[in-house]
Subunit: 334 residues, 2 copies
């Protein structure tokens, strides 16, 4: 039994290309004590992966050259030397971009596929869902009646942010690329409005849709859109910096928000979040989200691409805005 793996072959400059990766067929190592062999079913594709490919200090160590690319994964236990896991269990872990992963038992979490399908544990019930939940509620602190704007609104995190904001009694405006995505946000997810940044003037549209200004802005994209929203924030606004996908493939330096002095004028704040800080509370959040899903109040959507061999080009879909909902790579082709 061979294991198809994607290794980081060299660090990208700008947008990653196929030659940043090396696809190899490896042997599966023997299990040590308290280890688990997982057959990976779905691999999570996240904007943050672009950052992990860079060298330098960040919130997490970079992936090393020659290492299997880091990724969250869900799959089925094939064999185990841990008393806590047995064949047939379904687990979440950080298995990486490969078909099979050997993990320490302590790094895995069991998942219950009677509550939700396997891939959903990479989306609403996984990191993106947790990011949305804690980022919005703890850092954004939306109050009933306030206006919440989210960028990357049709993505894995954005779709959840908007829906949780609605559940908290807010007016919610999403910013996304393309008519279809915008329609999806309003028609399917119940957003109060959506702005297609590819065809609309974002600043003008915000003025129309948020006449009293923006109380909470959940930013996944950075760049010009962050600057546009900064011009429309309200007194004591909270800006949650979750990511800056528009800047991750920059070869020049990141575009800083020129309008940041709006923070001063409006006594507003901008705060960065990293989901891992909330690990102790994932359980409560997942329970709440599963309840909302069961009640039909929170809709989940995964965008599934099949075949691990398509990993390099599938990852780029994130940066080209080609996915709606959570982008996952299904390891096999069926």
């Amino acid at each position: 039994m061979k294991n198809t793996q994607f290794l980081l072959a060299k660090r990208p400059v700008g947008t990653p290309t196929r030659d940043n990766w090396e696809q190899v067929e490896s042997d599966i190592p023997e299990l040590g004590p308290n280890q688990v062999l997982v057959k990976i079913a779905y691999i999570s594709l996240d904007p943050a992966m672009r950052g992990w490919m860079n060298d330098g200090k960040s919130y997490i160590a970079p992936v090393k050259i020659g290492e299997v690319m880091r990724a969250s994964t869900v799959g089925e236990v094939i064999s185990s030397t841990s008393p806590d896991y047995r064949e047939g269990d379904y687990v979440f872990g950080h298995g990486g971009v490969q078909q099979f992963a050997v993990s320490d038992a302590k790094d895995l979490h069991k998942i219950d596929i009677s509550i939700a399908p396997l891939e959903r544990y990479l989306g609403v019930l996984g990191m993106p869902g947790m990011t949305a939940y804690f980022g919005l509620l703890n850092t954004g602190q939306p109050k009933e009646g306030e206006t919440v704007v989210v960028s990357g609104a049709a993505g894995a995190v954005g779709t959840v942010v908007g829906q949780i904001a609605k559940l908290n009694g807010c007016t919610v405006i999403g910013i996304a690329g393309g008519k279809d995505k915008c329609q999806y946000l309003v028609d399917e997810l119940g957003f109060d409005g959506a702005i297609d940044y590819k065809s609309e003037n974002v600043k003008k549209a915000l003025k129309t849709l948020c006449p009293e200004g923006v109380d909470v802005y959940f930013d996944n994209v950075g760049g010009e859109i962050l600057d546009d929203v900064l011009t429309q924030i309200r007194m004591h606004a909270r800006i949650v910096i979750c990511g800056a996908i528009s800047q991750y493939n920059n070869t020049a330096s990141v575009k800083g928000p020129s309008n940041y002095l709006s923070l001063l004028v409006n006594r507003a704040r901008m705060e960065g979040i990293v989901v891992f800080d909330n690990v102790k509370h994932y359980g409560e959040a997942a329970e709440q989200m599963a309840k909302w899903i069961a009640e039909g109040k929170l809709k989940a959507k995964e965008h599934v691409v099949k075949g691990i061999e398509h990993f390099p080009e599938t990852l780029l879909m994130l940066f080209n805005g080609e996915n709606t909902g959570k982008l996952v790579l299904k390891v096999d082709n069926e």
Copy 2:
């Protein structure tokens, strides 16, 4: 009796020049009910004045063309139709850049020159002192043992921020322009270190002086220095955005902080402040500051330039970094 006034003649592009101002000799209007005529002794010169000269929405309305330039002032009451003020009282107000001001009694505050000299009520005991006090303590929230960095450190606000941080048990590093200012911060005000941004590499110096990183950064300058500090912040750092004097005379757009994603990596926040929000608590703060001054724990320094006719060029000293401590314009020449 004539009143020398400086009116805003036209809005500046970039650095203000003499022709942005019109110097006029006016009559002093009769007092209406509950009004006070004040002979202004000192005019406060503040970086914020540059912003008030611009058109457009901000935290305060712009000064109109043809209006007396807005400024905080201290002076002596000459005549009054208010029962609350009488000839010989000393008052703080927003008298503007002129020799005499007619103010509504409700817009003035009596000051006690037995506690501190008149001009100090424009500095440590005035807006700059309040800005430092509330900005640092309420928004920066420094804890004992933390490292506080302040830019514009030798200015009216910076000198007070640093000293209050020291009084709160912090390690304090100031960033200022020039050897003399840096020496003053360390030798006279008890800062733990100072960085001369004109001759040193700020990022390198921060690494040396703040080996564990920066917990609180009080920013008066913006621009490159904000970006340098962002690379050195510590987990959960607080950045207080008080001003951005390096950017006020820009003719191009403001330089946004390219390194703002350090907020994400470090789960840090950046928050804007406007001193006026604390008006209800000025009394407590002034009392505390006066106590510190009396105990010799807080040093005050004013940089006095004489002669209202020198207003235009004296204002520019702020942007050229020519003042140490609070810059005030003494109305008369003696």
